[in-house]
Amino acid sequence: MISILGGELLSSLGAGEERIAALRNGRAAPDTIAVEAFADQPLFPYYLIDNSSRVARADHIEEYLQNVTENLFSRQFSGSSPPANTGVFLGSSSIDYSLTRPIEQIIDGLDPGKLPGNRVGGGFYADRIMQRFGLSGPSLTYNTACTSSINAFMDAAAMLECRVIDYALVMGLELSLPVIVEGFALMQLLSPDVLRPFGQKRNGMILGEAVSAVLLCRSDTRSSNWHYLGGESCCEIHSVAGSDPGGKGIAQVIRQSLSDAQVSPSELTALKAHGTGGELMDLAEMRGMEMAFTDIPDYFSLKPYIGHTLGGCGLAELVLLMECVDNGFIPATPHAEPLDEQFTSPPVRTNMDVTHGRFMLNYFGFGGNNTSCILEKTKP
């Protein structure tokens, strides 16, 4: 069995008590960001890690990743270093972050000078973290749209099961680079005001930033109340731009995830939906749940709290879920009322008292990427 030892998250929600209070009280307000490439420079809501330094995100990536890792390691190894045989698994919707600056400089006719690590591109940041913390296990960087960091998490678990490594550091990374917000704006997938998962008046997603880190090991190395039970990742070849609104692909991954984790639907305490607030995406997800379950479990979306953190959302939402349950609740999903009339059941309307149980986490993305996994928290 795989133990989840703990997690760290940098998001718009702040940290510690502040973050728990926001989740408990259903309060979170996004910042705004202007899309300068459009003639009218429209403003879109955006959940930012730090409103004051939004300009130079690309220059601070290593710093953010180091911060969450340092916090995680100092908690988990009480100041000492993690074993060298720790693998690093990083998921992000952009493998190109490290390429951005040098390419821009070269296009502008400037010499980027000697690049750190001599080379940039895929795997750059995972390598920097390994260097910084003296880790020598294998490493992989995942780029599967919105399922990137949850796929990294699941493969890390497989690497542990194979006894290739003793610990796994899993990381999720998503920052507000101009190309990302422009892209979603021109795809017309952004809400101009409020993220309303599964709501009748839903009008798109709101993006968010998140940098997260989670530490895993086999339960025979160290025990924890939190375990990874299993999951599945599938490719739905309906359309490169989104799931089949009929829900077939989503139902398939949910069923396979239950079967891999050997969990029956009635054993699920709650389900963390992807819940983007996108018109077609929420429809596909609801249809998928209707197909996969006779009774849809209590479900909720965390995106109204931190936004859609794209490739980072897999791990960021996993950390939030663990924190909420550790604090005795599952948060209500704000702004879902009135529910879309086509839907069978609404998301969780008021906070649920939950201290332990089995939780399904679902994620769906561009490129047909669908992932579902199941975690368990045993009775404290």
Binding site: F38, A39, D40, P42, L186, M187, Q188, S239, A241
Partner: protein, 91 residues
Amino acid sequence: MKGSCDMALKLRLKTMIIEECEKEHIKPAEIEDNVLLFSDDSRLELDSLDALQISVALQNQFGVRIPDSKSFRRHVTTINELADYIQPGVQ
């Protein structure tokens, strides 16, 4: 000149649509000025992603921003309408 009367503009739009939507097997002359671009029985067989692709090309090439491609698809249904949208002409 009103866009729908501007043959050069209309040819440019047709070529743009063919290019952006990778429909090279169709010649600009085969797209009639009054045929519905986004209907299911249109030879172009354009979908919502094509509509987005076209709306971005319109911004890039003509400086016209289309914030909502769904309402755009409802209101601008033919080459003539598209040409008038871009070039309303002087009354």
